[in-house]
């Protein structure tokens, strides 16, 4: 069995990469993909802790499935917005979309 530390280090790394992507990438599509990475890191954690704390139960897995579903829905919504922004501004660069500024 894989030790829990390995899984946690993996998911932390995945989360950090995702967070870096969210903060640093300029292309909106890539930002959305980075968010996906973070969500997946969470899903990995859920599965790992689920099997560790409640062995033989599926609650962790179920939660992970939920996360994936929600992530898919969110991505769909996000991409739709990106598409609209592209239509309006001919760009998907998040730097240039600062409509919510003061």
């Amino acid at each position: 069995m894989v030790p829990i530390e390995h899984v946690l280090i993996f998911s932390a790394a995945l989360f950090a990469i995702g967070a870096y992507g969210v903060m640093a990438r300029r292309n909106a599509v890539l930002v959305l993909m980075a968010i996906e990475l973070m969500l997946n890191a969470v899903a990995v954690n859920l599965v790992a802790f689920g099997t560790l704390v409640y062995p033989g139960k599926t609650s962790g897995l179920v939660f992970a499935v939920f996360v994936i579903t929600v992530a898919a829905a969110e991505l769909g919504l996000g991409l739709a917005i990106v598409l609209r922004v592209y239509r309006m501004r001919s760009s998907v660069n998040v730097d240039e979309v600062d409509l919510m500024r003061w």
């Binding site: 967070a19 969210v22 930002v31 998040v94 730097d95 979309v97 600062d98 919510m100 003061w102």
Partner: protein
């Protein structure tokens, strides 16, 4: 005697009935109100008679000294604290000869003046209100007279002031009357500040407002002498305000703006005497301090001569009487200050009658002059618009004359005996300067009273013709030079409702002094006294000196004013500056007006500007710009770039995580 509390309650009930019930009765309210008020005050007079009769039999010597007290414990008004340390504020009444004397004077005069007012005020559209306030006034005045607790005394004192305000401003449609009312209230209020501070000092020292406890503590030396002196002087300032003593005298002459029955009752016989009464009532306190007594004597003496000198040149008949009142009150205060307790209060007693009579006489004159001068624009109060009324108004004339003789101190009238008692007191206490000034004042008093009589009742009638160039005036400062035609009416004697009270009051104005004839018959001295009974003997030389001063004054007035009118012009021209200063009452009104306009109001206006510009605009509104600048800076952090926000999230999560993980110490304040 236990019924004494009814004396203030009956008129107070009359007031309540008038205001709450009769007011709604349409035109009938006028009649109902006047009857109710008369009934209330008459009831109070009956209470006086009962108390008086009872007191002669049943007033016992109390252990605390020669004064005779009977204290009626009243209701608890309120209290603070509980158990043994509670401070209970309860009304206490006193029945001694001093209060019985005042009870008699107030109820007797109030009743007669009310009768007089039924005639004088006839036809006024606020007739009912006049009587209502007079009822309230009488109740409050009786409260002053009977209370033996400084707090209740002060309360009644203030109510008296309120009634005075309402009555002076009775004809409020005239701006001057409203101003006079305001001036009276505020000036006496200034004195009351002193009074109240004095009371507070006594309360802190003794823990009570009860006069008996306070006086006992003072006599036993339990109160710090400095406090006694300070409290004494401060309380005396209150008396100065009410009794129109210099320098708080300015309101009293202006108070003559009220209807004449008001001037007679409130501003000559009773309310203004309340200050003197206060000095008499709180005498143990004043007497305990030499300094206080000296201050009282000095203020009284100065006021006596000061006001008399102003009265010499006044033109308004009521103002002459008003300054005369101020002067006579100064006389009484002086007597009390030099230690002649009985004499001062005896003069209060006699003065109330003959001065009320003088005012009622003046009212009678004005009442008959008003229709005559109506429409001419000439002032019906101005004695230079009168003349020759002796034959037109015989009852008024004779009563006015006798009252003036009494005021001038001509034997055997009432004023002679009380003035003589004061002179005698001054002589015996070695107060020679006050004695000299008192004699001079007596001379001046006789002079101005007879100037007034000659100009009013003798000589040629000046009301019928075009106004003369006024006799005294150099510059005609006050003269109302109307050029209308003289009225067609002629002056006539007043109706019986007004004439009858004159005759009734004439009796005590002549005879009240006979209660204090030293060595002959002097029950007053035995009753109203401070300390043991002293057998007084008539000092014949002083009596002669006093009478002579009066006669000289009358003589000089006769020389100058009986023959139509040339001498006085010479006087006015000979000393124009003195004349002008006197006519303008030493410019005290101007001085105070200047102080109020240029100092008090200027300070207020300055404070208002400071409040707006500094306190409000600079300090209160200051956070506005600070925060908007700050916000201006802070809003730049809202870049609109999602990724910047994301950085914020991460940092925030990190801090929260650190706290949850216990990497930061407990936030609970552990400093102490």
């Amino acid at each position: 005697m236990e019924l004494a509390w009814l004396a203030p309650v009956l008129p107070a009930g009359a007031f309540a009935l008038n205001v709450l019930v009769w007011r709604q009765m349409g035109q009938a309210r006028h009649l109902l109100s006047s009857l109710t008020t008369l009934a209330g005050i008459g009831g109070a007079f009956l209470v006086f008679l009962q108390v008086f009769g009872d007191a002669q039999a049943n007033l016992e010597e109390t252990a605390s000294g020669p004064a005779r007290h009977l204290i009626l414990e009243g209701l608890r008004w309120f209290s603070i604290g509980s158990g043994g340390t509670a401070s209970i504020f309860a009304p206490t009444l006193v029945i001694d000869w001093l209060s019985i004397m005042m009870l008699g004077v107030v109820t007797f005069l109030a009743f007669l003046i009310e009768v007089y007012a039924t005639g004088y005020m006839k036809g006024d559209n606020r007739y009912w209100w006049f009587f209502s306030v007079k009822a309230l006034f009488t109740a409050a005045m009786l409260g002053v007279v009977l209370s033996y607790n400084f707090l209740i005394f002060y309360i009644s004192w203030e109510m008296v002031g309120l009634c005075s305000f309402l009555l002076i401003g009775f004809w409020y449609q005239e701006r001057d009357n409203a101003e006079a009312a305001k001036k009276a209230f505020i000036t006496t209020r200034v004195g009351d500040v002193g009074f109240f501070v004095g009371l507070a000092l006594l309360y802190v020292a003794t823990g009570t407002f009860d006069m008996k406890t306070i006086f006992d503590a003072v006599e036993a030396g339990k109160v710090d002498p400095t406090t006694v002196t300070a409290a004494g002087i401060l309380i005396f300032i209150g008396a100065m305000g009410k009794s129109g003593q210099f320098p708080l005298h300015i309101w009293l002459p202006d108070a003559m703006a009220g209807p004449t029955p008001v001037s007679a009752l409130v501003h000559s016989a009773t309310m203004v005497a309340a200050g003197v009464y206060l000095v008499g009532r709180a005498y143990p306190l004043f007497h305990a301090s030499e300094t206080t007594m000296a201050v009282i004597a000095a203020v009284g003496t100065f006021t006596a001569i000061f006001a008399a000198s102003i009265a010499l040149v006044q033109r308004d008949i009521k103002r002459i009487l008003a300054y005369s009142t101020v002067s006579q009150l100064g006389y009484m205060i002086m007597a009390l200050g030099i230690g002649a307790y009985t004499a001062g209060l005896f003069h209060l007693f006699t003065h109330a009658f003959f001065k009320a009579l003088l005012f009622l006489g003046a009212g009678s004159v004005i009442h008959s002059m008003e229709p005559v001068l109506h429409g001419t624009g000439r002032n019906p109060n101005d004695i230079f618009n009168m003349g020759g009324l002796r034959t037109k108004m015989p009852i008024t004339f004779w009563t006015f004359l006798i009252a003036s003789l009494s005021l001038a101190g001509i034997p055997p009238l009432a004023g002679f005996w009380s003035k003589d008692a004061i002179l005698l007191g001054a002589w015996e206490h070695g107060a020679y300067l006050p004695l000299a000034i008192a004699l001079l004042t007596a001379f001046l008093t006789a002079f101005y009273m007879f100037r007034c009589i000659y100009l009013t009742f003798f000589g040629s009638p000046r009301w019928a013709s075009e106004p003369h160039a006024s006799a005294d005036a150099v510059h005609g400062a006050h003269a109302a030079h109307g050029h209308g035609h003289g009225g067609h009416a002629t002056p006539h004697e007043s109706p019986w409702a007004m004439a009858l009270p004159l005759i009734v009051i004439l009796v005590p104005a002549i005879a009240a002094g006979w209660l204090g004839m030293p060595g002959i018959y002097a029950p007053f001295e035995e009753a109203v006294r401070f300390g043991p009974v002293v057998e007084e003997h008539l000092n014949i030389w002083l009596a002669i000196a006093g009478s002579l001063a009066g006669l000289l004054g009358i003589g000089l007035a006769t020389l100058m004013y009986l023959r139509p009118v040339s001498g006085p012009r010479l006087l006015g021209q000979a000393f124009p500056d003195t004349y002008r200063v006197l006519l303008n009452k030493y410019y005290f009104d101007e001085l105070y007006q200047w102080l109020i306009d240029r100092v008090v109001l200027a300070i207020a206006a300055m404070a208002a500007t400071v409040d707006r510009k500094v306190v409000n605009d600079t300090f209160t509104d200051a956070p506005g710009p600070i925060f908007s600048t700050l916000g201006d800076w802070l809003r730049r952090t809202a870049t609109g770039r999602v990724q910047h926000y994301a950085v914020g999230f991460v940092l925030g999560i990190t801090v929260v995580g650190a706290v949850v993980a216990g990497l930061v110490p407990d936030l609970r304040i552990t400093l102490w």
